[in-house]
């Protein structure tokens, strides 16, 4: 029992750490898609921010400057997307794909030219990284049964971004459902004509949403390279932007359900790491790849409408053309 409890605590701890970039990226996608802009470039923005943050942190040895660079680059990518898709009514999926591919090549190219380490940045240590926060009495309480483990392993001992991601969920829910900005955001994604008729600029609303998207992805990417890891690696986002997209669809474009979807996908990841090669009585060894594929398979099943129905914001993916 004791052993099981320890395992559970460790798995929940891992779940939180894996879920953090997923939550940040999924909420980023929520703002974009709720405003009517499809964003399959969450992956590219995570990777781009990871690269920019690690590069600046490696050079300046300041994690905060790294965070600034990560957010800055991610927002810049979001603005390219906006310029192509909102200003010039280009295809949103094509633009997103372009950004994903562009960043996948650009990061390693620049890293190789600047650091000569085969397309990655040097290790970032010390003040260049975001370190875990140890909460008061975490060490003292460590040995207290149940509560001690819960407190010191799960609540305490994470870096800033883990808490930021968790706080971002209620904030997003509040912004989207309780503020004027949120009302307009949802309206512009469902019925841009109505927003336009009310004298509000559809383009301006969508650009604002994309800035929020950029900031959130920037934080997620920064987490990857200088909080969770110690430097930028080629393709380090490894599909997490797409898993976030899946979580967003799974959560039906709502903040809380999206967060739970992120936790579900992160938990399957933690389970997979735990169960590698473990023989489960009656089931046998579950192949790792099967669990890795689970988020994608679940999303397809959900999209197929066999389990509930995922309905995207009505105007998402469509450029808004003002009538003359």
């Amino acid at each position: 029992m004791e052993e099981f409890f320890t395992m559970l605590v460790l798995m929940l701890d891992a779940t939180l750490r894996v879920a953090t970039p997923l939550i940040l990226a999924a909420l980023a996608g929520l703002f974009a898609e709720r405003s009517g802009v499809v964003d399959i470039a969450l992956e590219g923005k995570l990777l781009g921010a990871a690269f920019a943050a690690a590069t600046v942190a490696a050079v300046s040895n300041s994690a905060w400057l790294g965070l600034g660079a990560g957010i800055g680059f991610s927002v810049a990518l979001a603005m390219v997307h906006g310029y192509a898709c909102i200003t010039h009514k280009g295809d949103q999926v094509v633009s997103g794909m372009a950004i994903n591919i562009l960043v996948a090549g650009l990061g390693p190219t620049l890293a190789l030219a600047w650091f000569h380490q085969g397309g990655q940045t040097p290790r970032v240590e010390g003040s260049g990284r975001f370190h875990p926060w140890n909460w008061p009495f975490a060490e003292t309480l460590e040995d207290v049964p149940v509560i001690g483990a819960l407190y010191s392993e799960i609540i305490s001992g994470h870096n800033m971004f883990v808490y930021l991601a968790l706080i971002a969920v209620p904030i997003t829910a509040w912004v989207v459902y309780k503020t004027r900005f949120g009302l307009r955001l949802r309206a512009v994604g469902e019925s841009p004509e109505a927003v336009d008729t009310a004298g509000i600029s559809v383009s301006a609303m969508r650009f604002q949403a994309l800035i929020v998207t950029g900031v959130l992805c920037g934080m997620g990417g920064t987490y990857l390279s200088i909080a969770q890891n110690a430097g930028f690696l080629r393709n380090m986002s490894a599909g997490q932007g797409f898993i976030a997209l899946a979580a967003l669809i799974f959560g039906k474009w709502r903040p809380w359900p999206t967060m739970f979807a992120c936790f579900l996908f992160a938990f399957t990841d933690a389970v997979q790491t735990r169960l590698q090669g473990v023989d489960i009585p009656g089931i046998g060894i579950i192949p790792v790849q099967f669990i890795q594929a689970l988020p994608f398979a679940l999303t397809v099943i959900l999209l197929a409408g066999f389990v509930g129905k995922a309905v995207a914001p009505r105007a998402s993916g469509l450029p808004y053309i003002k009538e003359r």
């Binding site: 499809v38 399959i40 390219v80 310029y83 192509a84 898709c85 010039h88 009514k89 280009g90 295809d91 999926v93 094509v94 633009s95 794909m97 372009a98 950004i99 994903n100 591919i101 562009l102 960043v103 996948a104 090549g105 650009l106 390693p108 190219t109 620049l110 190789l112 030219a113 600047w114 397309g119 599909g239 797409f242 997209l245 899946a246 669809i249 192949p287 790849q289 099967f290 890795q292 594929a293 994608f296 398979a297 999303t299 397809v300 999209l303 197929a304 409408g305 995207a312 003359r324």
Partner: protein
């Protein structure tokens, strides 16, 4: 707003040649800036790239070998585009298509070579089409967005193939996740062997018979899309679903059909890679070729001839790019990926940015000779 005549009145060479070439030039210009930023000479890089792609017969062979893959994936993306669908799943469909080729090559060891090869080609199309069928069907019948489902199917293909190669098809007693070598009668002949048999010397390269198959596929796609009822129906659905329904054309039937053909074409990458070059199933052999197809289709304006030239350009970039990295170590294949992203950005997402300016400039320059001049 529009004082000048609408863009449609410019001749086709302006909209179909001048505009794409201009977009390409912008993409290359920005790539040049990036090369300059990392401290290298863009013109020297360009020269080395062209020499690396066309400087010797064997280099041309490798360029055409890459071109082969891009013709298949470019055609795949274009067929879906004609039906109004964006098939991002070429990567996964190519992977599964290769599985089909590999299984045929592993199973039909004793059969005569021509039959094995024909069966392998059919298997590549069948497996690729099957992998595209589910997203196509879900789009047609359940309205699940094909972009998202094909993205998910790329990951599913990757997981499936890793599982199969690590657990099932792995050569017994080996550590590396790859299958045993295919029976030799499933190998496609190399071009240098074919020409050698005819008494002609060409450089040794990976170029194999798949190149000819790709050209035939491009021709057949042209015939199918513009000279058959089925192609007409697919294009009608892509242009205007409401009009298609009014004309008695079923959108859902054509969406499934377009995705099947698209997946089948992407699957044919497996012929070039597995039966043509590697001769065994390996991990990650599509190596991003499916995504290059997007750039190729956009640049080639979804026309087989345009796709051929765009594929040749990307073949040049891939082959020249790997030669280039020998001379300038800081410029690797990643730089080619950057160019690919820029091409998709400027030929695809930002195609509307320069187009009106170019057309307007043309109309102004051509003056009274143009049909676009308003009636006086």
């Amino acid at each position: 707003m529009s004082v000048i005549a609408p863009p449609t009145q410019a001749p086709r060479w302006v909209t179909h040649v001048l505009v794409p070439v201009s977009n390409l030039i912008v993409a290359f210009f920005i790539a040049g800036i990036i090369i300059a930023v990392i401290g290298e000479d863009p013109f020297e890089a360009m020269r080395l790239l062209v020499v690396g792609a066309f400087g010797a017969p064997d280099l041309i062979g490798f360029t055409l070998y890459y071109t082969t893959n891009f013709i298949f994936t470019g055609l795949a993306v274009s067929i879906a585009f004609h039906c109004g669908l964006f098939n991002i799943g070429g990567e996964g469909q190519a992977y599964i298509g290769g599985l089909g080729v590999g299984l045929v090559g592993l199973a039909l060891g004793g059969w005569p070579a021509p039959i094995v090869i024909i069966v392998a080609i059919m298997a590549s199309m069948l497996f690729g089409a099957a992998w595209a069928f589910i997203p196509g069907y879900l789009q047609a019948k359940r309205g699940s967005h094909v972009v998202i489902t094909t993205i998910m199917f790329n990951f599913l293909a990757s997981a499936l193939m890793t599982y199969l190669l690590v657990e099932v098809l792995i050569e017994s007693g080996q550590q590396a996740p790859q299958s045993r070598e295919l029976a030799e009668n499933a190998w496609l002949p190399f071009m240098h062997d074919i020409f050698g048999a005819l008494g002609m010397e060409i450089g040794q390269s990976s170029l194999n018979l798949s190149f000819v198959i790709a050209l035939i596929a491009a021709f057949l796609v042209w015939v199918f899309m513009w000279h058959t009822r089925w192609g007409y129906e697919i294009r009608t659905v892509g242009a205007n679903q409401a009009a298609a329904i009014y004309a008695g054309i079923s959108p859902s039937r054509n969406i499934v059909l377009a995705m099947l053909i698209s997946g089948g074409l992407a699957g044919m990458v497996g012929i070039n890679e597995i039966a043509g070059v590697h001769h065994k199933l390996i991990l990650d052999f599509p190596a991003g070729f499916g995504f290059v197809g997007i750039a190729v289709a956009l640049m080639g304006r979804n026309h087989p001839l345009g796709i051929f030239f765009a594929s040749l350009l990307f073949g040049m970039l891939y082959q020249g790019g790997s030669e280039l990295s020998f001379d300038i170590p800081t410029i690797t294949r990643d730089m080619v990926v950057v160019i690919q992203g820029l091409v998709i950005l400027f030929s695809g997402a930002m195609e509307h940015v320069f187009r009106p300016h170019i057309v307007r400039a043309y109309l102004r320059l051509s003056g009274g000779r143009s049909a676009a001049a308003p009636a006086e």
